[in-house]
């Protein structure tokens, strides 16, 4: 579904953020992308979404990438960016930056209508997603009047309404209280689509992802089952990480 082939990327010449990164993610997999700050997790997301590198024209402030980034058999480029973005749903770390319409409902309809759905179809889809998430109460609420947890659920709902084939989530549990964190984790586990999650919350990654890719200084330091990587104290500590809390006794 997603393939990075020897991708090297730099915003500035001579200062690579990613070096020779290669991995492949199969359809239906849930993969945790972990690593210390500055390891290149967000850059991987940006490259996939065409917000940097080849998708953004491979020049200027968007940086330059070498290698191939393939989503569902198509190489990411400005030419096919809209088709590729149609397949990807991205939940930003800061939900405030994701929810730009006045109400949750309008935010949910925004993408659907942009992609050519009729209002009736879009409303049916949005309603279905809210029902599935058990968040129907969000429908009439204003974005600026909801709590952080509700906002995060709303952000997830707006992206799920688009019915993406791949869900990309950047720190989905940051700034959430334990109760809302648990709701988000349960929601992620229930979703059938391919998921790529970046986070420092390794307990959440352990709960949701079957596989983990550990990035360190722009390189893939490890790629394998969560069970193996997240229990490997030596590997994690060598890459400025720690064992998940549950394994720290």
């Amino acid at each position: 579904m997603i393939q990075f082939d020897n991708v090297t990327f730099a915003y500035e010449k001579g200062k690579p953020v990613l070096s020779d990164v290669s991995f492949a993610i199969e359809k239906g997999e849930t993969v945790g992308l972990i690593g210390a700050n500055g390891a290149g997790k967000s850059t991987v997301m940006k490259l996939l979404l065409g917000l940097a590198g080849p998708g953004a024209g491979n020049k200027g402030v968007s940086g330059r990438a070498d290698g191939k980034i393939i989503v569902d058999g198509e190489e990411v480029s400005p030419r096919n960016l809209s088709q590729i973005r149609r397949k990807l749903g991205f939940v930003l770390q800061n939900s405030d930056n994701q929810m730009f319409m006045p109400t949750v409902w309008e935010d949910m309809l925004f993408g659907l209508l942009n992609y050519g759905m009729t209002r009736q179809e879009a409303e049916q889809r949005a309603q279905k997603v809210l029902r599935e998430l058990g968040q129907e109460k969000l429908r009439g609420l204003y974005n600026h009047r909801i709590s952080g947890g509700e906002k995060r659920m709303a952000a997830v709902a707006t992206v799920l309404a688009m019915d993406p084939e791949v869900l990309l989530m950047d720190e989905p549990t940051s700034a959430l209280d334990p109760y809302n964190r648990r709701i988000v984790i349960n929601t992620i586990r229930k979703l059938p689509c391919t998921k790529v999650i970046t986070s420092h919350d390794l307990d959440m990654i352990y709960d949701t992802c079957g596989r983990v890719i550990l990035l360190s200084e722009g390189r893939v330091a490890a790629d394998g089952p969560s069970e193996t990587i997240l229990r490997d104290r030596g590997l994690l500590e060598a890459n400025r990480m720690e064992l998940p809390l549950r394994f720290q006794q």
């Binding site: 800061n94 930056n97 006045p102 309008e106 925004f110 209508l113 209002r119 204003y142």
Partner: protein, 268 residues
């Protein structure tokens, strides 16, 4: 200072809340409201500077709209509190520059300068009220959708929408920074002038980052300059009637002094 910014953010959001209301005026299509507002402003502005009585009739439009929409008049004047003094200042020198006597009012002589000052003031206030009523009863996205329909360039319309949306983002960032400053400068009133340079620079950079992320979020959900999600794009017969009736009335008021006509008929 932080409280002022918070108040401004609330004000901005209150406009969204007002625009999401449900009244007969809110249900009129954005196109019809935009057309009527533009015609209203053009007609009001075109009145002769001494035609105060003719202009008086134009108060009917905002009065009816306030009554129908349920939007409080006080909210309008509260939100326009910073602009109104400027409007008032526009004709302030007219009574000094033009002292030609017009008519006596008891022992007091009203000059043409005074009349033109009041007329200018009325024009300004009426136009502001009409613009406020449009903004308070119509979603910004619906207005943008109409602008796109009449082929206003996508770039300009996007700029309008994003300016409106980013104003809140900018204010939020300014608020966070002011709070952080105040917490480390107890007892200090406002921000010291020496810190203004770096404060504004940081504010710009932070707002740009947030704005960029917001725009990316729009792009990732298929936005490319069109406003498919805006309601009120299509017009019904009711909308056409609304627009035609008001425009006809405005033009009639411009051609005939309806206030005078009404007054004469009542006196008869």
């Amino acid at each position: 200072m932080s409280q002022n910014i918070e108040r401004s953010i609330r004000d901005l959001r209150e406009m969204d809340t007002l625009a999401s209301g449900d009244s007969p005026l809110h249900r009129v299509s954005a196109g019809a409201k935009l057309l009527v507002t533009v015609v209203y402003i053009l007609v009001v502005v075109s009145f002769d500077k001494f035609n105060m009585s003719g202009l008086m009739f134009m108060l009917l439009y905002p009065a009816v709209l306030f009554a129908v929409s349920g939007i409080p008049v006080s909210t309008c004047f509260y939100k326009l509190r910073f602009v109104l003094p400027i409007v008032c200042a526009v004709g302030i020198f007219n009574p000094i520059l033009d002292r030609t006597p017009a008519f006596p009012l008891g022992s007091f002589v009203v000059t043409t300068g005074m009349i033109s000052m009041v007329t200018l003031l009325m024009k300004g206030v009426f136009c502001l009220m009409a613009s406020f009523l449009l903004a308070a009863s119509t979603r910004i996205e619906a207005i943008c959708a109409v602008l796109r329909k009449i082929h206003v360039p996508s770039m300009l319309v996007t700029l309008l929408l994003l300016t409106y949306r980013y104003a809140a983002v900018l204010a939020e960032e300014a608020n966070v920074m002011t709070q952080a400053y105040n917490l480390r400068a107890p007892g200090q009133k406002g921000i010291h002038y020496k810190a203004w340079g770096s404060f504004l620079g940081q504010l710009l950079l932070r707002s740009m980052d947030r704005a960029e992320e917001l725009y990316s979020s729009m792009l990732l959900r298929g936005y490319h300059g069109e406003f498919y999600y805006a309601q009120g794009g299509s017009s019904s017969i009711g909308d056409v009637l609304y627009a035609v009736s008001w425009c006809a009335l405005f033009i009639a008021a411009r051609c005939v002094n309806l206030t005078q006509l009404l007054g004469t008929s009542v006196l008869r």
